[in-house]
């Protein structure tokens, strides 16, 4: 093994991959959210469809899409590898009496579970929108753009999708309440001057992003 593969297959190296990909995925969330906010515009989806058309065909975005797939791929793969290794490290005999809840938070201990819920949501989400837009012929709107808005309208008539999307965002919220600041600690970016600010920003980021995403299916279900 070369020193590079050795570095990134060590326990710290794997966590560095988690942290870098995790923070990269956070930047993706911002881009995705800002674009999707156009769903709230009262123009029957004209702006949203134009945006969606742009995202589907711009070469720069299509290149970033590959980076995004790799980011998710590494994050999920390393996350599952770490979860398996960490479980094995504890051994077969568990504590008869374990009060771990007295020394740590539930969501920090449940990153793999929360991530897996997010993953399930993600697969359904890709099937709902990305799959139809990329691989089927979608009717066009008055401006000649693919009518992604109509897909959103249709999907969020279904209460099961609305529920699943909200659950997905709650899982992501808890994933990020720990993950955001945890990634800085993993990268060694901990300092008594800045860490309190990183924690605060992490909380704000997680709550705002996840609440805004969750508002979309709820708004469409009740008001459209």
């Amino acid at each position: 093994m070369s020193w590079i593969t050795k570095t990134f297959s060590s326990s710290i190296g794997r966590k560095i991959i988690m942290a870098v990909t995790g923070l990269f995925l956070c930047t993706f969330l911002v881009v995705h959210l800002v674009g999707n906010l156009q769903l709230f515009k009262a123009d029957n989806g004209a702006a949203f469809n134009a945006y969606s058309e742009f995202m589907g065909h711009n070469p720069l975005i299509r290149t970033m899409e590959i980076v995004l797939v790799l980011g998710f791929g590494f994050h999920i793969y390393e996350g599952l590898v770490l979860a398996a290794k960490n479980r094995a490290a504890r051994g077969n005999q568990r504590y008869v009496s374990d009060h771990i809840e007295q020394n740590s938070s539930w969501h920090s201990r449940s990153m793999a579970l929360l991530g897996s819920i997010v993953l399930f949501f993600l697969i359904v989400h890709l099937y709902n929108f990305f799959g139809s837009l990329r691989f089927t012929d979608v009717p066009r709107d008055a401006n000649g753009n693919e009518d992604a808005y109509a897909l959103v309208l249709a999907a969020f008539k279904n209460p099961f999708y609305v529920l699943l999307y909200v659950i997905g965002q709650v899982a992501l919220l808890y994933h990020l309440l720990h993950g955001f600041s945890s990634a800085f600690q993993t990268l060694g970016l901990t300092h008594r001057k800045y860490t309190p600010a990183i924690k605060f920003i992490g909380y704000g980021f997680s709550i705002i992003v996840c609440a805004a995403f969750a508002a979309m299916p709820v708004y469409f279900f009740f008001f459209k």
Partner: protein, 261 residues
């Protein structure tokens, strides 16, 4: 007895103790009663009472590790009522007093659980994995010869204090025992940052962190999920900041050392 409270009433307790013959057999919880335990006793003295009872009855006493009984050696490792070194923060088991419990309590006592710390017998585990991590790099090389001057190498007070804080780690393993991943990162980070902070540690700075982390992984300890159970349970209060220092040391060593393997 000096400092004892004459009004403190002796306690009767039910103990649920992990008994295991050796590494290769299954263990189980066995119930015992202990009577007339003084609140001034330490937890280990309470176990001494149990063992005397057992010896009197011709049964095998419970094996547990202990040495200094004053909180500095890191041997007395018991998982008490679901917490490493018991529910009292900032204490080793030997410094835990029975006055923290009440008459009639049931107390569950287990060994550290981690695949890197196999159970020797009953409550005693094999922590030689820690020794092998130290052997991999947790030292400084010093030339033999005359005694060096005390202040030959100046160390600023602030740095010396931070290094000393990290050096207070007694290698007890409570961090591993309480971590859901059985990660040894708090222990390793205390050793690495102590030596990285001091000029004496700079000679082997890069190889130290590379080798200690490699050994830590080889021993089968888990990775750090930044959950923080370790620092919450550490009897001497080693802080999570050390783990950030360890990660920085590891990354910069990997990026700049001459070690291609």
């Amino acid at each position: 007895m000096a400092g004892s409270n004459p009004n403190a009433k002796p306690m009767n307790l039910t103990l649920k103790v992990w008994r295991q013959r050796n590494r290769n057999t299954e263990g189980r919880i066995v119930d015992y009663q202990v009577q007339d335990i003084s609140p001034d006793m330490s937890f280990l003295e309470m176990l001494d009472v149990l063992n005397e009872d057992l010896l009197r009855k011709g049964e095998e006493p419970v094996v547990f590790d202990h040495d200094c009984r004053e909180g500095i050696c890191g041997s007395c490792n018991l998982f008490i009522n679901g917490r490493a070194h018991g529910p009292e923060p900032g204490t080793t088991t030997c410094q835990l007093h029975m006055r923290k419990f009440s008459d009639g309590d049931t107390i569950t006592i287990e060994p550290w659980r981690s695949s890197a710390f196999p159970v020797n017998k009953d409550l005693s585990v094999d922590r030689s994995a820690f020794d092998r991590i130290i052997q991999a790099g947790g030292y400084i090389s010093v030339n033999t010869g005359g005694t060096p001057d005390a202040n030959e190498i100046p160390v600023p007070k602030e740095i010396a204090d931070r290094a000393f804080e990290a050096a207070t780690c007694i290698a007890c393993g409570a961090c591993v025992a309480s971590c859901k991943n059985s990660s040894a990162m708090l222990f390793v980070s205390a050793k690495v940052s102590q030596l990285a902070l001091l000029p004496q540690g700079h000679v082997e700075r890069k190889s130290r962190v590379e080798n200690m982390v490699a050994q830590m992984d080889k021993e089968g300890f888990g990775a750090c999920s930044n959950i923080g159970s370790c620092a919450a349970e550490c009897p001497v209060g080693i802080s999570l900041e050390n783990i950030a220092i360890l990660n920085r040391e590891f990354l910069s060593a990997k990026a700049t050392s001459n070690n291609l393997a």
